[in-house]
Amino acid sequence: MASPEIDALTQALARLPGLGPRSARRAVLHLLKKRETALAPLLRALETVNARLVSCHLCGNLDTVDPCAICTDGRRDARLLCVVEEVADLWALDRSRLFPGRFHVLGGRLSALEGVRPEDLTIDALVGRLAAGGIDEVVLAMNATLEGQTTAHYIAERIEAYPVRVTQLAHGLPVGGELDYLDEGTLAQALRARRPLG
């Protein structure tokens, strides 16, 4: 039987996405047995991230620096902006550098039924970025759900006045799913075949 302290650790890990009580117990046991090589480095990494964690004031990404590493990466094409619903989508598109430009995280999607309104998302900030100039193309990379597509149309309306090309990912109805779940091949294809918003 474990002490309440170790139980608390197991329960905290078990609540993480993708884990569960079984995997959590295995992870805890591993950490306890490898105190120096596993537990201590994990603790230091957690402490550092916890101390420095910030939301990027430009794009909404989560990172330990502000602006985030993506926004300050000079090799990226600053004229290309990809708008996503959540940080998870940004990370999905950033896997193996699928998208060469920068991002904008909305922080959700419009939902009349759930009461998520335009002012609850970072749409004004997006409009501000376009007004500042220097952006040629906005890729609306919303999920292929009804709410995602409604959000894409809404943003297209709001940014109509700016001289930018507005495109959307070429993922159709059959996928219906969320970017986060797509494999890299599918995502790369959806990006390559992106098309003007119809």
Binding site: L110, A112, P118, L146, T150, A152, Y154, E157, P174, G176
Partner: protein, 364 residues
């Protein structure tokens, strides 16, 4: 395409029942209340939607049971067998779970695997009642031909609900948000209308070309709301112009959710609603049989038919004609009746099952 095995757990009157069925006619007999329709309903849940009773999921869980239910089936397809499971958990009694070959899936994905059509005694009122029942009937016909129809219809409805909610806001709705929802309604609504048009045109042509046989030939047309030639743009424009109208009405007054399926008895040139109950039944049967042929021809897979209490309402001549036609067409057809004698004319190859007291036995 056939359901070869079916297992029900805490579904309606069945604590636990397992049956095996052949690829052709499946005949269920048993007294009133034995559970025949319950069994057909279980099969109907292997397609998207709420099944042949349009019931809620919690109604389907066995009363005094643990709360959830499960329907598991093995399906024989040209490409091999697949396993489909659907049901609810006691902890989430209104959330339909679907598994296809063990992996979680959306209910709409079921339409890609099998096409199902049914006729039930409740549909006797189809031509006398409101348009929503006929729209549902039509949409099921469309779904069997175009599996993507379900998703378009669901998205159209969802966008409409959201738009209605915004229009009801006292402070006035954000026009850009309304426009975004209307764009979704126009896209999916146009797709819904076009798919319905294709199905009605194909089915009407097929019915008109058939000889006048024992089943009345139906004429089909879409009435009520009809899409303009350029449906997508026209619906978008109509919705935009109709915001005030719809806000005042508290609902959306234009769109494919306001269409109706008009059916006429061709040989009598009479609206179906004016025909006798028996004639209406024969009309529906004629539509379903012609549709099954159409689907078989178009997709190479014959839909599974569920005919609840159909034999009892036909005279002996029409009953024999029905059985002949079903046997000749091939494909799996589930039929129910209170007496085995109703099915006497059917050959020995049929699967005969007796239903009684929450159990299903072979033989009939």
């Amino acid at each position: 395409m056939a359901v070869t095995r079916l297992r029900l757990t805490d579904f309606r009157s069945y604590p636990d029942a397992a049956i095996e069925a052949g690829p052709g006619l499946v005949i269920l007999t048993g007294e009133n209340g034995a559970g025949k329709t319950n069994l057909l309903e279980a099969v109907s849940l292997l397609a998207p939607g709420r099944g042949l009773r349009q019931a809620t999921l919690s109604e389907m869980a066995r009363g005094h049971g643990p709360g959830g239910f499960a329907v598991a089936a093995q399906l024989a397809l040209p490409a091999g067998a697949i396993e489909i499971g659907t049901g609810t958990l006691a902890t989430a009694p209104e959330r339909r779970q679907v598994r296809i070959n063990g992996a979680g899936a959306a209910a709409n994905a079921l339409g890609e695997w099998l096409a199902l059509l049914w006729l039930t005694p409740a549909m006797d009122r189809l031509f006398g009642e409101g348009a929503s029942g006929r729209r549902r009937f039509l949409d099921r016909l469309v779904l069997a031909l175009e599996p993507g129809h379900g998703q378009h219809a669901a998205r159209y409805e969802a966008a409409m609900r959201a738009r209605n909610k915004l229009l009801a806001e006292p402070e006035g709705a954000d026009p850009a948000w309304l426009a975004a929802l209307e764009a979704g309604m126009a896209e999916h609504g146009a797709a819904v209308a076009a798919a319905r048009d294709r199905t009605v045109a194909a089915l009407a042509a097929r019915l008109a070309g058939q000889p006048a046989g024992p089943f009345a030939r139906a004429g089909l047309a879409i009435e009520g709301w009809r899409p303009a030639p350029n449906a997508h743009a026209a619906l978008a424009a109509d919705l935009r112009a109709g915001r005030g109208r719809d806000a005042a009405a508290g609902r959306t007054l234009a769109g494919p959710h306001r269409s109706d399926l008009a059916v006429t008895h061709l040989d009598k040139a009479q609206a179906a609603g004016r025909c006798s109950t028996g004639e209406q039944k024969a009309l529906l049967l004629g539509i379903v049989l012609a549709h099954a042929d159409l689907v078989a021809e178009a997709s190479g897979r014959r839909p599974i038919l569920l005919l609840d209490e159909v034999a009892a309402h036909l005279d002996p001549l029409r009953r024999a004609a029905l059985f002949d036609r079903l046997a000749a067409a091939g494909g799996q057809v589930w039929m129910t009746g209170t007496e085995a004698a109703l099915f006497d004319g059917i050959g020995a190859k049929a699967t005969r099952l007796t239903v009684s007291g929450g159990a299903v036995m072979e033989g009939g």
